[in-house]
Amino acid sequence: MKKSVFLGALTVAGLTAGAAVAGTMDDVKARGKLNCGVTTGLVGFAAPDANGEWKGFDVSVCRAVAAAVLGDQNAVEFVPTTGKTRFTALASGEIDLLARNTTWTFSRDVDLKFEFVGVNYYDGQGFMVPKGLGVSSAKELDGATVCIQTGTTTELNLADFFRSNNISYEPVPIETNAEAQQQYLAGACDVYTTDASGLAATRATFEAPGDHVLLPEIISKEPLGPLVRHGDNEWGDVVRWSLNALIAAEEYGITSANIEELAKGTNNPEINRMLGTEGTLGEMLGLDAEWAKRAIAANGNYAEIFAKNIGEDTPVGLARGLNAQWTNGGLLYAPPFR
């Protein structure tokens, strides 16, 4: 009983601490480090490399924000979170920003009191099965055993999908992607379901990726994006516009290669405003003029980050698809820097 009283006290203390944090930006600056929540390891999105350095698509968002706010893309403390612990970590103030392929939903935004600052990956839930199973559609999965990460929207989508198609399944709830991979490869489940991007990333780490197929059905909309606590709008703005800067940079052709050149001034006022040679956008955010320049210079623009971590030339091998710029028929559309 002692233990549970202690846990209860911890919970209470955690909630107290959570509400005490108001000016996240001041806290981050005072700390000199950004606490960024990421996954416990999903290759391409967020995973430590051989040197123990965190790399990935979501990690780049953390680094861009750190570069914009603190001037150093390495001033980030990465906090691995599971599907279950991530929201408590953010609500309690343990992390300043959650960049962990988290789906933007109504109840998370409104009821859980979080602020989704945008979408950095438009995804949908898919299914992966071994080729040997001979399944070509998710509707043929009647009676299958399905591995699923617990505490995610995919868990709810899965229940809805099987229910609406009137077929049965056996859910095997799992905490982390690594455990899911182990169970799936051992044949303890027939199917692994999560966001299609996550499936592609997981498959990339298999010994024989070719032996596994992603089924054609995408059963949900999963707009994944970084989020912060509700109610701290200054901090929310900083993260939102750091993300927008990466997206807009691709649109305007600002890359890590030419950014120094462009930062000297160009004929395009929008680029000038972004990079701080014109206007006072940085000041409005409570940052200096070169915030966006640093954010983009850290890991390049959206296209560069995509190509380096999860693009078609990487083992994950995802096509841009919905995540192309609006000018190329995709959904990425950064509001104007004005």
Partner: protein, 422 residues
């Protein structure tokens, strides 16, 4: 002549609360109590206020919302349209199942190992020591994960049972299948079933009770009761004549014959698991998560119980054994008639806390994806609704009630075995 008068009545003065030793300790305790209550009030007030500021006041309304997730092991009917409350109930039953199975198995293994550890046989004694030291010195979470990994990695997948020349086959004339998704065993079915009693209609806490089960239990209990009457009669005859009539066939008969008649009347038969589609269908499916959790908790707790049993036996003085053997009792009779009844007095109190530990340790279930109450109410429900405080408070209350109930039952048992001083 002197007159004696009563000593003057002492007037109570406020300062006596501090300076009079009769009152001082009381004063200090009252002040400490007030301080503690203020602290608690401050914590509660602070929490409530912060939650209100966050816009998340304490509210249990989410319990009547649909849970929207599925649970694999369910003892009652449940689907994703049922409420969070029902999901919590399903989880609670799963917790109780693994706790009861675990406590029973741990007791059996613990008692056997504890007695064997005292064996004069060197190899048996040392082996038991190795077992005890191995299990109680490694965290139980590691055992759970380890056993799960062994089950998943070493047993064949259901697909290995398929084909002309399958890599794996079912055991015991095709009735039991060990797979890396669990063990499938035959289930009893009733062709002339008496049906179920539905309690609480359509409510979230609705409960189906099988009439078959009630009938079987009633016949069993009745049989044991009659059997006890026969035993007492035999005792009486033995006391008056010195000769004990042979009654074992009678006693066995009054239990088994009515049971067999009832089972035949209900048309009991077994449903065997068979490979169909992706998985085995039919039969009872003992999931790997349950087996891993059950085994790990039992083996871990049994190591502690073995030590408790050994300590209890060693606490009985050697003179008792010697006196018993001087009376001509055999080894096993000495153990069951003389040593164990006395040792129980020492064993039961620490055994209670081992049962409590096992029950609370079962909350590690999520490590292997076993959907106990921590996995449903304290896991998915908490995560999907974002009601951390409500869920954790309720979870604590549930474990508190389970633990106190176990304590109450075991304390009652302890009363009945402890030394009766006359």
């Amino acid at each position: 002549m002197t007159t004696l008068s009563d000593p003057p009545k002492e007037q109570f003065r406020l300062s006596m609360l501090l300076y009079d030793t009769r009152y001082r300790s009381g004063t200090i305790q009252v002040i400490a109590l007030i301080g503690f209550m203020l602290l608690a009030a401050w914590l509660i007030n602070n929490t409530a206020q912060n939650l209100a500021e966050l816009g998340k006041p304490i509210d249990f309304g989410f319990f009547s919302e649909p849970a929207s997730y599925d649970i694999n092991q369910r003892l009652l009917d449940y689907d994703s349209r049922d409420t969070h409350l029902r999901a919590a109930l399903i989880g609670l039953l799963n917790t109780l199942v693994v706790a009861v199975l675990g406590c029973a198995t741990a007791t059996v293994i613990g008692v056997v190992v504890g007695v064997l550890r005292l064996s004069h046989n060197w190899i048996v004694g040392r082996l038991m020591t190795v077992y005890v030291e191995m299990f109680r010195n490694v965290p139980v979470l590691l055992w759970i994960v380890f056993i799960m990994a062994i089950l998943i990695e070493t047993l064949p997948a259901p697909s290995a049972f398929r084909g002309e020349d399958p890599a794996a086959s079912m055991l015991l004339s095709d009735s039991v299948a060990f797979t890396n998704r669990g063990v499938y065993i035959p289930e009893p079915l009733f062709s002339r079933s008496l049906g179920d009693i539905h309690l609480l209609g359509e409510a979230s806490l609705r409960f189906d009770v099988s009439v078959n089960l009630i009938a079987i239990l009633a016949v069993l209990i009745g049989g044991i009761w009659v059997s006890n009457i026969i035993k007492r009669r035999a005792d009486r005859i033995q006391e008056s004549t010195g000769v004990r009539p042979t009654t074992w066939y009678l006693r066995l008969g009054v239990i088994l014959v009515p049971l067999a008649i009832l089972l035949a009347a209900l048309g009991v038969h077994f449903g065997y698991p068979a490979l169909k589609g992706f998985n085995f269908q039919g039969g009872t499916h003992l999931r790997n998560s349950l087996i891993a959790l059950w085994l790990a908790l039992s083996l871990y707790t049994a190591a502690f119980i073995a030590e408790i049993v050994r300590a209890g036996i060693m606490a009985i003085s050697k003179g008792q054994t010697e006196a018993a053997s001087a009376l001509g009792l055999r080894q096993n009779r000495i153990m069951s008639l003389v040593i164990l009844p006395q040792a129980l007095r020492v064993i039961v109190p620490p055994l209670i806390s081992q049962y409590l530990n096992l029950t609370k340790n079962s909350s590690l279930a999520i490590a292997v994806g076993y959907m106990d109450i921590t996995g449903t109410l304290g896991g998915i429900t908490m995560n999907q609704t974002g009601r951390e405080l409500e869920c954790v408070l309720l979870l604590m209350l549930v474990y508190l009630v389970i633990s106190l109930s176990i304590s109450a039952v075991m304390n009652w048992y302890n009363e009945s075995v402890k030394l009766k001083e006359r």
